[in-house]
Symmetry: D2
Subunit: 308 residues, 4 copies
Amino acid sequence: MTDYSNTIQQHLDRIAKHARDLFGNGHVADYIPALAKVDPNQFGIAVCDLQGNVYQAGDTTTAFSIQSISKLFTLIQALQIYDEELWQRIGREPSGQRFNSLMQLEVEQGIPRNPFINAGALAVCDRLESRCSAPNYQLLELLRELSQNPHLLVNTTVARSELEHGSRNAAMSYLMKSYHNFDNPVEKVLESYAHHCAIEMNCIDLARAALLLCNKGKTLAGREILTQTQSKRVNALLATCGLYDAAGDFAYRVGLPGKSGVGGGIVAIYPGHYSICVWSPELNDAGNSLIGTYALEALTDALGLSVY
Amino acid sequence: MTDYSNTIQQHLDRIAKHARDLFGNGHVADYIPALAKVDPNQFGIAVCDLQGNVYQAGDTTTAFSIQSISKLFTLIQALQIYDEELWQRIGREPSGQRFNSLMQLEVEQGIPRNPFINAGALAVCDRLESRCSAPNYQLLELLRELSQNPHLLVNTTVARSELEHGSRNAAMSYLMKSYHNFDNPVEKVLESYAHHCAIEMNCIDLARAALLLCNKGKTLAGREILTQTQSKRVNALLATCGLYDAAGDFAYRVGLPGKSGVGGGIVAIYPGHYSICVWSPELNDAGNSLIGTYALEALTDALGLSVY
Amino acid sequence: MTDYSNTIQQHLDRIAKHARDLFGNGHVADYIPALAKVDPNQFGIAVCDLQGNVYQAGDTTTAFSIQSISKLFTLIQALQIYDEELWQRIGREPSGQRFNSLMQLEVEQGIPRNPFINAGALAVCDRLESRCSAPNYQLLELLRELSQNPHLLVNTTVARSELEHGSRNAAMSYLMKSYHNFDNPVEKVLESYAHHCAIEMNCIDLARAALLLCNKGKTLAGREILTQTQSKRVNALLATCGLYDAAGDFAYRVGLPGKSGVGGGIVAIYPGHYSICVWSPELNDAGNSLIGTYALEALTDALGLSVY
Amino acid sequence: MTDYSNTIQQHLDRIAKHARDLFGNGHVADYIPALAKVDPNQFGIAVCDLQGNVYQAGDTTTAFSIQSISKLFTLIQALQIYDEELWQRIGREPSGQRFNSLMQLEVEQGIPRNPFINAGALAVCDRLESRCSAPNYQLLELLRELSQNPHLLVNTTVARSELEHGSRNAAMSYLMKSYHNFDNPVEKVLESYAHHCAIEMNCIDLARAALLLCNKGKTLAGREILTQTQSKRVNALLATCGLYDAAGDFAYRVGLPGKSGVGGGIVAIYPGHYSICVWSPELNDAGNSLIGTYALEALTDALGLSVY
């Protein structure tokens, strides 16, 4: 195992080095000022294994806005509460549309295609709002536990800014409400949602937080967050729907279940072995980290990590 | 290994027995007479491993119309010829639409979303037509080699009937032609396509034919049909796009890359270990074998076969 | 003229008589309780000419909810303020979609197709909100003047109920806001809009109010509400877009510019001669008054009133 | 009347003079070579009245490709044969989509929205094919009679070229066939359609040919081509659907029923008074003659000809 660990570390170092050559080919998310002013020339990668080892290279201790990666953890929260009942409100199919499209939501009469497009994540938040006393606080507590980092915080400037630029999310929420698939006040759910997106974590935090999906739903400490079946199924959802409308390309090139965010982070899962978090703020046309996708492709190719 | 083999066989027997209790809950494909008159009360399942063992239960020696499962093999043929160049003409994303929708093809200006929806498979056939002297014959030869069954045949009654009911496929082909993404005469390609769909194979034939995708692209005899990378990528495409607009649900419930056909067959791949073919003619609303899907879910649950 | 007036009256009497035979073939709008409990078995028709005569038959003095007919008058208000500048925010084409579709609004990036679909009327209200101190009050005052009925009122129960069931309208407004085509607070505009829809008028009130469109934009008292060109153009918009997705059928069968509302009212214009208001609460599948459409077809056939 | 005639002539002369100042602002249709090489700097306008007078200015004796204006006359042919029965196969609503969109045709299951979009005209041709022994010849004969020009011909180079570039029309036809809304062989109907589009007429020919729609369906010689009701209804269809997805704008600016073609011709009807044909090859973004639309707007403004 030692040798293999050395191999991982060597690959990470090589990839991090090469990543810096790729700076300048994408564009940082700019729909809110707080994201637009992030330094684009950053890259970090962290890998956790089931023995508790963490391999890392680059800017792995810089916290960034987790944005849509939060959708993975609100889904986990909702599955803990609703399990299969959740799917009465939300689909499980790839959307074939941009992450914030209303078109499909109208055609399918207010049932979002999956929990990882914006409409689906808003529906998940609505479900949490119905059963949790303090869903925002509880998500943060969960993430603190999973990442073993009690200092995780919400960037309230980002959260406020998200809310101010949240008209499309409001439109989607009201459209779901018009189809009776949204029970709580829209404003309240939008506020929760904005807080989730504005949580800041670094690569190590996120790789650690996702490790339960490599471990049949359990933390390394042995606490069952999800059942083994739930864990497998979340990975299946990530594989088919986790990268917006680039899930097929990601499966083709990287071959792992994953979830991306416009903050430039991507979490990927190699079930039974590794959780990975890569981060670099510049995005490609599909809205996923340009260099992050490259790095995952390079790492999985080098180590033969595909699930397929 | 012996014990484990016994376990597989026991599960297959149990599943085949239970499958018969489920007869009568779906509907046989009826868009052409030759398919409509198939006896719905049939079920077969076959599993191949890399040691050359075949486990089976039920009607595994009855040949059926492979229909869209042929799309997997024409893709393999096309990758052998074009490799990555193929993707200049065809996408790699789930469609989020029915298998024969023209809408998306129009929005995306004649580039089909993936090779497993009808438009994509027609584009693949067009590519084969451009480079193969006798694409139909070559597909049949490939399938005979892979299945180790030299007696495979096209059901010409079905092929003719497909052609007569092929107006939608003609519409898609002409739409692609209008976007300069279709080079050969439409009639010729439609005829090839109809022949592919009308090939008849049984569960054992198909499980054997798909085994290369468990074996890094090679036959058990050691012939490289695809490179290891190509094999992995075909599995990724199957996982995200192989079951039409039910790929998410199939990943969620079964957890394996797979390809279905309206003849009631489904092929599934557990990379590195098993290829599976299940067949039962009654379909669910998504157009996939109702009992076949159940059987795969039961088998993968029992053996813990998910890739996720 | 006397003879011809007699003819009109005779036709109205005949049509009103026959209308009662048709009761029971449609369905009253039921999306809000206040509309659902309207007695369906009512019918009224009123015709105004430029000499100040009013011909009428049936329930012409019963006030009803004008609903979307208000869109005609808010458009008139907005043209008074913005004239051609209004079209920077709103299109002038038939939509080919249901009145409350979001799909097209997304495809056309927040520019509603015309001022008579819901999104367009909301955009008009947003424009009024930007420039009027009290848009609701001013609309009511305008309608009181035009109808010569100082007693017109808003039914506040209906208005409140509209607001409570206004999620789709909220969704459309937020979607426009996300495309920077909506300047005022959504809640405020929705409240105005709900009040407009809840104004109650009878057939005579509405026929009188619309008479300016027969009179080159002027009231019979000679006040210019719209210029002659504006008046002609509003009629053109009514002809192509006034009946939601049944404008073609209405032109085909009735042959006049018109505007309908789900309260069962329809206003029609025979430029240079007559304004007509017909009312009957039962709707056809397109959401227009079933018997109202019949009555207009019968009247225009009998008198040869088509503009075509 | 003499004075008024002088007025018309003066307006035409003025408009034709000004039209030449506008050359160079649009683009000639270039999807087939035969159209692409037409000299763009041409303009003609002709007006016919019910007394048999013809007013004209500019290039009124140069024949051009009538293209989609043929759709008006094939509709007239079909109404002569099928009358109201025609509408079982074709809708009567504006489409809200481009003239050759397949999307809507799929959503509405093979029923084209109206007879003036390509799919609708193809459905009309299919209807003619079912009942006419020689539909192409009969259309040409009808146009020769109506235009009083026995020398009208099909440009066979254009017709052949249309056919070669007709993949989208083939796609639409096959899509309708898949919904059982197309009875004849696609190739045969496409050939007829291409011939219709390739008929060549000049402004005077076309103004004369359309005069029946100003005259309650009759030729000036008194032959009834359509009933009065049919004539009125064709005008209604032209008003709501005649200019593709710019019907609203045309009604707004010109205020007359009309039909355009990509050859640069536009026919407009002022019922009871005038038929107008204007021609100039440069098109605007909506595919209608740029200067032709301007000229009609100028003429109808000057003479106050709007139906609204």
